[in-house]
Every structure is written in C-alpha cells, then in structure tokens.
Amino acid sequence: MLILQCPYCGIQCDETELAPGGEAHLKRYGPGSTDEEFEAYLFERKNPLGVHFERWRHANGCGKWFLAARSTTTLEVFGTYKAQTTEPPAEIVAAIKAKLPDWEGRQ
C-alpha cells in the first residue's frame, strides 16, 4: 500500500486517505496560446517509466493538494512537498539523485 506524508499536516497517510490528481507541474495555457499548446496542456502526459511528479489531495484529512515524487517502476516514494511551486524543490531532486544517480532530471 502506498504511504505518503502530507506536507501540510505531517500525517503519514495510506492511499485510502488520498485522492490521486495526475501529473504535477503542468503549465496552464490560456487565451492567446496555440491549439497545440492547449491540447498538450489538456491531454499530453509524460507518463514516464521511472520518476514521476504527481499531484495528490489529502482528501480524507486536511483536504489540501500536495505534490509527490514517486517511481512508477518500483513504487518508491522520494518525497512529498507543498503545491505552491512550479518546480520540484532542491531537496526532492537531491533525494532522487541520491537513489538514482543516472536520473536525467525532469524532461
């Protein structure tokens, strides 16, 4: 069972307490953007074999959205962080690099 720590209330939550919210750090395109950009924002996903940055909501808890770095091939969790950021924070990137030295970074 997947266990993530909510970065707001600090609780170790198992996945029955959480709602998955898909890929994190999507850039929202709005008025003035091209059709391709808007299509990519709505539908295209990285869906990587390996490190995935994703959104979760502590649905049966504090109710807040947070972000997590997790491996889709081993289900290992590298860390969770608050959602008010457009890039993964340095300590999360360091934690991933420590476990996976060959990781090429977020594409």
């Binding site: 029955t16 299509e39 996903r45 869906n47």
Partner: protein, 415 residues
C-alpha cells in the same frame, strides 16, 4: 502448417503423438522487413494476421520484449461485449465480437468462445436511464441488446441478490451474444496463423530505439540488432508512451494498474458475465469453476503490474453484497496489468507525426474484447496508409479538435 482436426487427434493417438509440430517458429530476425509490428500481444498479432489475410502483406516481423501474449492479453478477465453508446465504439467492438464468433473456424484454433451473455446491472436511477439510452442506441447501431427487468435478472442469474440493501438491482442491460473466450488461445491462435503465413514472431527482442530519416521511419534498434523496415506499427498498450518517446512524439496516455482475481473452483453457479458498474465489480465463472472477478483501475501512474490492495477489498465488498453466496469463497490468485488510459477512455488507432509509423493503443480497460476488431482496423491503416471506416474516428487529432468519443462519460466508470 498442419491443420488441427478430430482426424489429426486420432492419427496422433495411433503414433504416440510424435507428429505434432511447433505451433509457431522462433526464427532469428532478418535484416529487413516490409512491416515491423512492435508487441506480440493479441492486438499486435491480430494486426499482423489481418495484414496477411486481408492485404496479402506477409513480409512481417512481430517483435516482443517478453514472451508472446505475456502482457495484458494474459492478464484480463476475458469479457467480450459490444454494448457501447457511441457509434464509433459500437462499430469497432461489434466487429470484434463478430470476429470472435468465427475465430476458431477462421484460424483453425480453438478459442473456446462462449457467447454466454453479458449483463450490466442498473443499480441507480441514473444507470436505468443510461442503460435504456444505450439499448436504444444499440438498436440503431445493429447491436443486439435489451433492457431487462429485475425479475428477468433473477431468472438468468439465480445467485444474485436483487434486493439490496445498499444497491438493489433495478434492471440490467443484457447482451445475449456477448461472452468470453480463452485469452491465451487468442494470442496463440494468431501467432500460429501468422507463422503459418511466413511471418517471423521474435520473442525476447526488446526495441531500444526507433530510427527515422527526414521524418519517415527507416527501422528499429533492438536487443537482437538493428532491423530495417518500410512501415512500423506500435502496438504495445501500457508501454506506448515509452515507445512514442523513442520515436520522438508524445501521447495523451497515462498507464495505470488494473487488477483481477480468481476464487477457488466451485460447481457451476452462474452461466453469464455480470458487471456492476456503480459498485465497481464484475464477475463470471470460468470453465474450471473459478469465479473470475475484476474491479476498478487505480488512479495513479504505475508500471509495476500490481495494484492497490484496497481496490480488491472494495470490489469484493461490493460483490459480496450482490452475490451473498461468494462470501465464504477463498481467493486463489490475483494479478495486475498495465492499461493505457486516454482522456476520453477511447482507443487510438492513428497515423503519427512521423511518416509510416502507426500506433494502436489506449484500449485502457477494454483491450481483450477488442483484439480482432482492433487488428482488423489497424491492418487497414498500415496497409493503405490511411484509416478505414472503423479507425477513422480514433485518430490522434481528435484531442486537438475536441472530437472526443467520450465513453468515460457514457460509461461513467472504467469500461
């Protein structure tokens, strides 16, 4: 390729079964093929088969990273149905169902297709309206379904509890000609027929790169060396995004785990497939007597072929309410497959941004039932370079144009 028949069994019985040949050859790859199909699951093999049968293209290699039919083809609940709301879905799934009916005769391989009927329970007022609408749509589409009463449900499935308590059965969408088939036989049957037509099925051959020149594919790099090709068909379900990444384009696909499980075998108690979409569980009885149970997909990206335990618990909890007699059954095995989900929960059979690369993916939780129809439509796309009537609506461009085939809304759940 020697034909299987009652006579062949009698002949082999007399000579101690020394005359059976291998069902398919395991050759080393040639340097060049007309068409390379990546993925020797049901969909990939069906694509190769109908390319040979319908279009006479036989210079084909089917490359497989693992073993033949070892992905989702061997990891499903073998349900075959075509009671879809949207016209393009109904057309391709009905084509598929009708091809399953004649599969054994066509391929001379016993697929054990059993048109035992599929029942989708309506357990809320919303579902009653939804399934009545589907039944009306199916009349127009030429798919034989009907909306039946709770009394008729109880008559067809005596072990069902129609009285609730949480979700009483208020009716059902009944497709009598739907059913199930033996999943391995589908992959093996196609593989044998492809091999018989002279195609090369190459297992344990992982594709590591896709080569192109001037935006047109020239070949692939594999763990067994480089192979050139004129056309490339990518038919790899859960790993489609990974392969598309090698070719240099992205897909509107996310890969998640979908699980199923079987109970210990019991005496025959249910001779059709029952799906309960409100509570998210479906069940049928295999020929061995095991109750085959499936549920909802997980909500997060996953390539590990195992899913969340709490989904199993939810599924079983729901089914125990609907089928009280299974409450003491021991569950014997569980497994997970990686399904490729698109935004509208409909598949992609499409040209790609690169010339002569075609992709067939996004079947999500409905892959097994669609194998023959998907192969039929994909073969037409690969052979002609343009999609035929079955595949035309399933192009990648529908996401840009907002032309969704929105089965996610139509079904309300994974389907």
């Amino acid at each position: 390729m020697r034909r299987y028949s009652a006579f062949a069994i009698a002949r082999e019985a007399l000579r101690h079964h020394t005359g059976w040949e291998r069902a398919w050859r395991s050759p080393e790859p040639k340097k060049r093929y007309n068409v390379i199909v990546i993925g020797a699951g049901g969909h990939g093999l069906a694509t190769a088969y109908y390319l040979g049968k319908n279009y006479g293209i036989r210079d084909i290699a089917v490359l497989e990273k693992g073993w033949l039919g070892g992905g989702n083809t061997g990891r499903n609940t073998t349900i075959i149905r075509s009671n879809y709301l949207q016209d393009p879905s109904a057309a391709i799934y009905e084509k598929s169902r009708s091809l399953y009916e004649t599969f054994s005769q066509d391929l001379n391989y016993n697929a054990m297709f059993s048109p035992r009927g599929v029942m989708m329970l309506a357990q809320t007022q919303h579902e009653i309206r939804g399934y009545q609408r589907t039944a009306h749509a199916n009349v127009l589409q030429g798919v034989q379904t009907e909306f039946i009463s709770p009394e008729r449900v109880k008559e067809i499935v005596p072990i069902i509890n129609v009285g609730g308590p949480r979700y009483p059965v208020l009716g059902a969408l009944w497709q009598p000609r739907a059913g199930s088939a033996r999943h391995d036989a589908i992959a093996w049957g196609y593989a044998r027929a492809c091999s018989g037509m002279g195609m090369d099925i190459i297992q344990k051959c992982e594709v590591t790169g896709v080569r192109s020149e001037g935006g047109v594919v020239t070949g692939v790099n594999t763990s067994k060396g480089d192979i050139d090709c004129e056309k490339l068909a990518i038919v790899v379900a859960g790993h489609s995004g990974h392969l598309a990444g090698m070719a240099g384009f992205r897909l509107p696909i996310e890969s998640v785990a979908l699980q199923a499980l079987v109970s210990e075998p019991i005496k025959p108690c249910m001779d059709c497939v029952v799906m309960a979409n409100t509570v998210h569980g479906y069940m049928s009885q295999s020929d061995k007597g095991e109750m085959v149970i499936g549920g909802g997909a997980d909500g997060y990206n996953n390539y590990t072929q195992r899913g969340s335990f709490h989904h199993i618990e939810e599924t079983i909890r729901a089914l125990v309410e609907t089928f009280p007699m299974i409450s003491r059954l021991k569950m014997m095995r569980m497994w997970g497959g990686i399904v490729d989900m698109t935004g509208d929960r409909s598949p992609i059979i499409s040209k790609t941004p690169l010339g002569n690369i075609f992709i067939n993916c996004g079947w999500g939780t409905g892959g097994f039932k669609s194998i023959p129809g998907s192969g039929w439509a994909m073969a037409e796309l690969v052979a002609k370079g343009e999609p035929g009537p079955l595949a035309a609506e399933f192009g990648l461009d529908r996401f840009k144009e907002g032309r969704f085939i929105d089965e996610s809304v139509a079904a309300g759940v994974a389907h």
